[in-house]
Each structure stands twice: as structure tokens, then as C-alpha cells.
């Protein structure tokens, strides 16, 4: 039989092992947190390092001579002639003046490919605005092609860079331009102003951001009132019966239904049955409303619950009806909490992609939507579309679009947190 002393000895001997196990366990915990944080940092670093370049775009300075003969404009007041004139020829002429004339079709094509197609449109709109320019010349910074942009951005100190589709002749021209400072990076307004485009240098998130805004407006103005009304009913009026229980079960389940299922709902019921048009912010907003409702209902209920019963009892005590208690006392007090919850719901809706794929919001849309029934796409879908594009320049654009999207999301969440801190009342 072991004596008490022996027991102590056994414990003494095992202590070292147990302390080691304790240390190991703490280490595992720290490793878990470190892994999570590492993922956050890696993700952000990866996106920012890929995307920061897209906020600046390569421009080339050219001396443009608005030659009436080359343009083919006889009468400057004729709008038809102005529209049909050969503006790209001006760009090519300016290029060959600057870089030396080239012979051979291949070389000419390479020369043309230095600049973006949009350079021609830019000249057209300038001439339209100031007809006096015809025959005159001016020096302009014009948008370069995306391949040139990628190459120019990747150049290091020794003059080496990612060549891709840039030919040796083009590289020599770019070196020539660099020598006289006629090529530079400018802030990329195009990226924020334009809609989608097949040409990376002309593609922007303006259209998608507008589509997101319109879709979110519909989502908010539908889901907030409906969600608040549902929460009020369930918290304040619902009798304890089967119908109420059934509603609760449904809300909890809908909160966990995969988002793609809501896309199926939108396709089969809203589009095929009710004939809501495809690809427009209205249908996107409707589907996202159904998707965010559970979130908003759940957070609104929590906000209503946090209003102390004494307020209700006091109001009832001086003769208010139950509806008056809710509308005049409980709702105003719960409003900050409800708004916070719905901002978080909106942030979720802003980042959602999958259900929108089903209802036609993946279309290639160049025009910026002007209303709720214009075909539109949204930011996350634009990111999805660009990430599929083979051009290397689109990787940069995609990452930049992600940065913009994340900025919106983080500011929305920060707003929600700040509102909660500011407006939350402790009873």
C-alpha cells in the first residue's frame, strides 16, 4: 500500500510533465490566434500589393496636330463629319512624328498599339468642345495601352520589366519616351468614372459602384421597414401559438440557408413567374432583401429586447394602448440598435455575389446605370467578372476593385461600431 508521502512524491514527479502540457496547450492557443491574424495580414498584403498600382495609369505626352485633311473634315459645323472623322489617324501621326516614322504593316500596328483606343475619343470630344482647334496643334497627355501600362509599371531601376506582349521595338520606343519624360503615371480617374470595358485601361468601377448603390437603396428601403415591423410583431404582439413558433423557426433557418438558394428563388419565382426584368437593380434589391431580412429581424429583436420593461409599464400605466407604447416609446429607444444591425446587414448585402449570378446581374454592361430599371452589375460581380479575364492588367484592376469594396465594407462596419458606442444606452 502506498503511503501519503508516496502520493505527494508521485504528484511532485508528475508536476513537471503537467506544467509542460500546460505550456504546450497555451502555445497551441496562441498558434491558433496567430494563424488567424496571419491570414488577415496575408490577405490584405496580397490584395494591396497586387492592386495599389491600378490607382495610377500610364499616360504618354503627344503633340497632336488637328489636321483637317487627315481627319477628313471639310465643314467643322457638320456634326456628322465630326463624328465620322478619323481621329486615330491623328494619334498615329503624332506618334510617328515623335518616335520617327516606321515602315511596314507590322511596325505600324505596333506603333498604333502604344496608345489606347480611347485616345481617339478623347480628341473627338476636345474638338467638339472647341471647334477652333481644327488646324491648330496642342500637346496632350493621352492614355496608353494596357500592355504598355503593365510594362512601364514593372520597370525596375536597371530597365528590366515584365514584357508580356510588348515587342522589342515598342520597348525601345518607351525607352525613348522615358528619356524625355514624355511618359508618366497619373491618377487613374478613368478607373472610378468608367463602366466596364474589354480594354483594361478603359475599364472602371463607376458603373458597378452605381449599380451597387441602386441595389442597396432598394434593399435598405424594403428590408429595414419590413424587418423592423416583423421584429416589433414578434417581440411585442405575437401570441404564443403555433403560427408564431413557425415564423421563428423559419426566420432562424432562413438566416442559415446558402445564399445561392435565394438566387434560385429569384430566378424561378420573381423572374419566371412574376416577370420581373433580369439584370436590373430592382430584382437584385428584391433578392438581397429576402436574404438580409433574417439578419435585420434578429438584430432588431435584440434592440427591442434591450428596452427595459419599466418604460413599457410606465406608458401603459398612464393609459397608452399597446400600439402607442410601441410606436411612441419602444421604437424610438430601440432605433439606434436597429439601425446598427441593418448597417451590418447592408454590408453583407454589398459583399454578396452568388445569388446575383442567377438573376442576370453578370452581364457585360458598359453604360453606367441611371435608374432602378437600367441593366446593371454590382461591385462584387464586377470583381468576379474581371478575375476571369485573361489580360494581366485585369489582375491589378480586380485587386483595386477589391480594395474599394473592402474600404466601403470596413467603413460601414466602423460606422456601425461607432454608432453602437455613441448611441447605446445602458439602463
Amino acid at each position: 500500500m502506498t503511503e501519503p508521502n508516496n502520493n505527494t512524491a508521485i504528484i511532485q514527479r508528475s508536476l513537471a510533465r503537467r506544467y509542460r502540457a500546460e505550456k504546450r496547450f497555451r502555445l497551441y492557443g496562441l498558434l491558433g490566434i496567430a494563424f488567424g491574424l496571419l491570414c488577415v495580414v496575408t490577405l490584405f498584403y496580397d490584395i494591396v500589393s497586387k492592386g495599389h498600382g491600378a490607382f495610377r495609369q500610364t499616360y504618354v505626352k503627344l503633340e497632336i496636330n488637328y489636321d483637317a485633311e487627315l481627319l477628313g473634315i471639310g465643314d467643322i459645323s457638320d456634326a456628322r463629319q465630326l463624328a465620322a472623322a478619323d481621329y486615330p489617324a491623328l494619334v498615329t501621326q503624332a506618334l510617328s512624328q515623335r518616335l520617327g516614322s516606321v515602315s511596314g504593316r507590322k511596325a505600324r500596328r505596333e506603333l498604333k498599339r502604344l496608345m489606347s483606343d480611347s485616345a481617339g475619343y478623347e480628341l473627338q470630344s476636345r474638338l467638339k468642345a472647341r471647334p477652333a482647334l481644327l488646324g491648330a496643334s496642342e500637346s496632350l497627355w493621352l492614355l496608353a495601352d494596357d500592355d504598355i501600362d503593365t510594362y512601364y509599371k514593372s520597370l525596375d531601376a536597371s530597365g528590366q520589366g515584365f514584357t508580356g506582349r510588348v515587342t522589342e521595338r515598342q520597348q525601345a520606343w518607351i525607352k525613348d519616351l522615358i528619356a524625355t519624360d514624355d511618359i508618366r503615371l497619373q491618377f487613374n480617374w478613368v478607373f472610378f468614372r468608367n463602366g466596364d470595358s474589354r480594354e483594361p485601361e478603359q475599364a472602371g468601377i463607376g458603373g458597378a459602384a452605381m449599380g451597387s448603390l441602386l441595389t442597396l437603396l432598394i434593399t435598405f428601403f424594403l428590408s429595414f421597414p419590413i424587418g423592423v415591423a416583423a421584429a416589433v410583431y414578434l417581440e411585442e404582439f405575437a401570441p404564443k401559438n403555433r403560427w408564431t413558433d413557425f415564423i421563428e423557426v423559419n426566420i432562424n433557418n432562413l438566416a442559415a440557408v446558402p445564399s445561392i438558394i435565394f438566387g434560385l428563388l429569384g430566378l424561378a419565382i420573381l423572374i419566371n413567374f412574376f416577370h420581373v426584368p433580369r439584370s436590373v437593380p430592382v430584382i437584385g434589391g428584391l433578392v438581397l432583401t429576402l436574404m438580409t431580412l433574417p439578419t435585420i429581424i434578429i438584430s432588431s429583436r435584440a434592440a427591442i429586447k434591450s428596452v427595459p420593461p419599466s418604460i413599457r409599464e410606465a406608458a401603459i400605466g398612464i393609459g397608452a394602448s399597446p400600439m402607442q407604447v410601441v410606436l411612441q416609446h419602444v421604437l424610438p429607444l430601440a432605433m439606434p440598435g436597429m439601425l446598427t444591425g441593418s448597417i451590418i446587414g447592408m454590408a453583407q448585402a454589398l459583399g454578396e455575389t452568388a445569388p446575383l449570378l442567377m438573376i442576370g446581374m453578370v452581364a457585360f454592361i458598359v453604360d453606367i446605370p441611371q435608374g432602378f430599371t437600367d441593366p446593371a452589375t454590382v461591385l462584387p460581380v464586377q470583381i468576379f467578372l474581371w478575375s476571369d479575364s485573361p489580360e494581366r492588367a485585369f489582375v491589378e484592376k480586380t485587386s483595386a476593385a477589391i480594395m474599394v469594396l473592402l474600404t466601403f465594407l470596413i467603413s460601414m462596419n466602423a460606422l456601425a461600431v461607432a454608432m453602437r458606442r455613441r448611441l447605446e444606452r445602458r439602463w
Binding site: Y19, A21, E22, R24, R26, Y28, G29, L30, G32, I33, F35, G36, L37, C39, V40, L43, D46, I47, I226, G227, A229, A230, Y233, F237, N250, I251, N252, N253, A256, V257, P258, S259, I260, I261, F262, L264, L265, L267, A268, N272, L290, L293, I297, S321, P322, M323, A347, G351, T353, A354, L357, M358, V362, P380, V381, F384, S387, T398, S399, L409
Partner: protein, 462 residues
């Protein structure tokens, strides 16, 4: 009047009748000695009038707009000449959309068949007639309803009760929307799935080992046999979810334990929100990260040690999905661990157990049901996750358990089958709904089980 201007009219009429009703109640009150002799406050009489004037008209408008289109198109179709009758439904749809385009001026009448031009004029005529009738009926209903409220108003009328009853009915309607949504989901997937199961036997769908949804468009076409066995899709989904869980459960659980049991308030204050950032990142961003960063990395490492890794390996998609789920598991586990009563901890420590022994032998078993519930919810989320797998996993269905191979998932197939134009009479399109039904059922089952487990556990210590 067009529908938007009708709606604006309704709002204006409502406001007008609110003031009329309120005024009338004040007049009535004067006769009996002040507003305190009224049954309700003047405000409620005003709202009652407004409701009487706007609500019936609004209900009628909603019903009318829901049903006028099918009736009009049926009338137009019936008016078409003989040779257009008795055609297939697809041809019929095409014809109707052609007529609508002519009517809207998208197609020019000169280049279209005369019969269709006639039909489009018929359509426009019918449309303007129904719009006129609707306008007239709305006007009559608003004025009748408002007049009735004005006429029948008495000081004894229980206006507040009536108004509150309407409000309450509205609230109930909003709350019931959750049920209608579920019903809509169920109906949409079930109906299309039933049509799918008419073309493809349900046993083949459930137990078939081949998935290649390319059906032949013409009868003589080669290579489009079409196989609809969902087993490889579900194994692919499970494989990716399993990898995700292998990443997320240990990392999420350990960080939750550390944050709840060891970390001081400062570390907790910084680390918890930092981890929650992962939960707020859109899935499309994870997809981009998986496809462009993680997948090439996995491939490089794999080829480095001499393995053949597919560029769309299940491993890359699963890893990133795991990262996405870490905060989900860690915040759920954190809640559950914090809910374990302090007395259990104190008891164990008093007996001489170290902190980690307390966690492993006392707290973890006590929190286990809640943790299991949380993990089940996470699994259901992994199964239903779409964007990561659409962007980083493969398209071709393959029955494999090798995480370095490309597999496809249920959600990938639903998304690819339904993006772009669909024809709703081919099993290819309908199969997406059958997959949706399976996805809905599986996630529903997981959710119900998980929510019940969590609920039961919560009650245990309350």
C-alpha cells in the same frame, strides 16, 4: 394615368383625407363639448379616413397588376390568325416577345409580319384600355372610401382600435414574410425538380456516379448524352468541406479557448475584432485570393516535393474556405465557453487541476454540445458556399478523395448551369434546381439539428 403616378395620387389622396377626417372629428367634437368627449384622438380619425381612402384602392391595384399581364397576353394570343394557333410553348413565347417588341417600338413594324403588327396594335389597345379602367376604378374607390369614412364618422366610433387593428395586421404580414420566403424557396426548387425527375429518374440522380450535364440539342448530335448522377458532386463538396473543417476547427477552437480562458482584456480587445475581420470579407474576395495566390502556391509546393497538383486543386479551395470559417467557429465557441458557469472552473482548479486540465477535462466536455452545434452550422455554411469554389475549384466532376485533384461541387454546378441564358424545358437547366433542392434539404437538416443542439445546451445552464 400610369402606375407610378397612380401611386403618387394615392399618397396625396391619403394625406388630403387625413386632414379632412381630422377636421371632421374636431367639428364633431365641438358639438359635444371638446375633443375629450371623442372616443379617440383626432389623429386617429384622420388616419382612419386616410386608410379608408387609400387601402382598398391599393389592394385592388396590387391584385390588378399581378393578373393583368397574363390575361392580356392570353387575349392577344387568342386573336392571332389560324396558322399561329397550336404551336409549341417555346415558339409561342418567342412569338409573344416579338409582338411585345413591336408594340414597344423596339422592332420596326415595316420589317415584321403584318399579322404580328396587327397583334401588337391589339396588345397596345388592350393595355391602354386596362390602364384606363384601373385609373377610373382607383379614382372611384379612393373617393368612395374617403367619403364613407367622412360620412360615417361619429364621436362614439372606436377609430383608434380600428387603426391599430390595421397596423397590427400589417406587422403580422411583415413577420409572415419569412414563411412566404421559405415557401417560395420550397416551391421554386420542388416544382422544377419534379419536372427534372420526369426526364431523369430520381434513382439515377441520387445514385448515379457520372455527371456530365451536356444534353444533345439535336437528335443526331454526338457526345451530348447527358449523365445526371450527383454522387461525384456531393463527394467533391464533402471533400472541400472536410479540408475546410480540418483548417477551421482546430484554429477556431484553440483561438476561442485562448481568448476566453487565457488572454488578458488587452489581447482580447485587439485579437477578437481582428479575427472578426475575416468574417466580414466578401466571399468573392476569398475566391480571388484562392484562385490567384493560394492555388499557385499549393501547386508550387506540391511540384517542389514531386507531387502532381492540379491547378484547381480541392486543397486550395478548401484551405481558403477554412480561413473564411475560422471566425465563425471561434465566435460561436467563445460564446459557448463563456456560458459555462464559473463554479465548474473554480471547482476544478480547487481540486488542483492545472488550467489546461480544467479546460480539457471540465470546460470542454461541458461546452461540447454547443461546440458541436457550432461546427454543424459551419459545415452547412461550407457546403453552401459558392463563390470560393466557383472561382478556385474545377468544373469537371470526378469521383476522387485526393485533395490535390480538381473536384467540382454542387454549388459550382448550380452556378454554371444557371449563369447566362437558360431554356426551361431542358433537363440541363432543370438539374440545377434538383441540385438546389438537395442542397436546401441537406443544409436545412444540418441547421435544424444544430439549432436544436445549441438551444438544448443553452437551457441546461440557464
Amino acid at each position: 394615368m400610369k402606375t407610378p403616378s397612380l401611386l403618387i395620387f394615392l399618397v396625396l389622396a391619403g394625406v388630403l383625407f387625413y386632414y379632412l377626417g381630422r377636421q371632421r372629428s374636431l367639428v364633431l367634437a365641438k358639438g359635444i363639448g371638446g375633443t375629450r368627449h371623442l372616443n379617440s384622438l383626432p389623429f386617429y380619425y384622420g388616419v382612419q379616413s386616410a386608410l379608408w381612402c387609400a387601402l382598398p384602392a391599393l389592394l385592388l391595384m396590387v391584385l390588378w397588376l399581378a393578373f393583368d399581364e397574363p390575361i392580356i397576353s392570353a387575349l392577344v394570343a387568342a386573336g392571332l390568325p389560324e396558322n399561329y394557333q397550336g404551336i409549341s410553348s417555346a415558339e409561342h413565347d418567342l412569338l409573344m416577345s416579338q409582338i411585345e417588341n413591336i408594340a414597344a417600338g423596339v422592332l420596326s413594324p415595316q420589317s415584321s409580319e403584318p399579322a404580328l403588327v396587327l397583334a401588337s396594335e391589339h396588345l397596345n389597345r388592350l393595355k391602354s384600355i386596362t390602364q384606363n379602367i384601373l385609373t377610373a376604378v382607383t379614382l372611384i374607390l379612393t373617393s368612395l372610401g374617403g367619403a364613407w369614412a367622412w360620412w360615417s364618422m361619429t364621436p362614439q366610433q372606436r377609430a383608434r382600435n380600428q387603426v391599430e387593428w390595421v397596423f397590427k395586421a400589417g406587422l403580422l404580414l411583415c413577420a409572415s414574410l419569412a414563411i412566404f420566403t421559405t415557401l417560395g424557396i420550397a416551391l421554386s426548387v420542388i416544382f422544377e425538380s419534379l419536372r427534372f425527375f420526369q426526364a431523369v429518374p430520381i434513382t439515377e440522380f441520387l445514385f448515379g456516379l457520372d455527371w456530365s450535364p451536356q444534353t444533345a440539342i439535336r437528335a443526331d448530335q454526338v457526345g451530348g448524352s447527358g449523365a445526371f448522377g450527383m454522387v461525384p458532386l456531393f463527394t467533391g463538396t464533402l471533400l472541400i468541406s472536410l479540408i475546410a473543417m480540418v483548417v477551421a476547427v482546430p484554429a477556431g477552437l484553440m483561438s476561442a479557448i485562448y481568448l476566453a480562458e487565457y488572454a488578458g482584456p488587452r489581447l482580447r480587445g485587439y485579437a477578437k475584432p481582428a479575427l472578426e475581420i475575416l468574417a466580414g470579407i466578401p466571399t468573392v474576395v476569398y475566391g480571388f485570393f484562392a484562385a490567384l495566390t493560394v492555388a499557385p502556391f499549393v501547386r508550387e509546393v506540391g511540384t517542389g516535393v514531386g507531387l502532381t497538383v492540379s491547378s484547381e486543386s480541392a486543397l486550395a479551395a478548401g484551405l481558403v474556405m477554412g480561413i473564411m470559417i475560422i471566425p465563425f467557429i471561434s465566435s460561436l465557441a467563445d460564446d459557448v465557453i463563456n456560458a459555462v458557469p464559473q463554479t465548474l472552473r473554480d471547482g476544478s482548479l480547487a481540486l488542483g487541476a492545472t488550467h489546461s486540465e480544467t479546460v480539457k477535462k471540465v470546460i470542454f466536455p461541458a461546452a461540447l454540445p454547443g461546440i458541436v452545434g457550432g461546427v454543424l452550422l459551419a459545415v452547412s455554411r461550407a457546403i453552401g458556399e459558392t463563390m470560393i469554389v466557383v472561382m478556385a475549384a474545377g468544373m469537371a466532376a470526378r469521383l476522387t478523395a485526393n485533395p490535390l485533384d480538381a473536384v467540382t461541387t454542387v454549388t459550382v454546378q448550380i452556378a454554371t448551369l444557371l449563369v447566362g441564358d437558360q431554356e426551361f424545358d431542358s433537363p440541363k437547366t432543370l438539374s440545377a434546381f434538383a441540385l438546389g433542392l438537395m442542397l436546401f434539404l441537406v443544409t436545412l437538416l444540418l441547421n435544424i439539428v444544430a439549432l436544436n443542439v445549441v438551444k438544448k445546451y443553452r437551457e441546461q445552464y440557464d
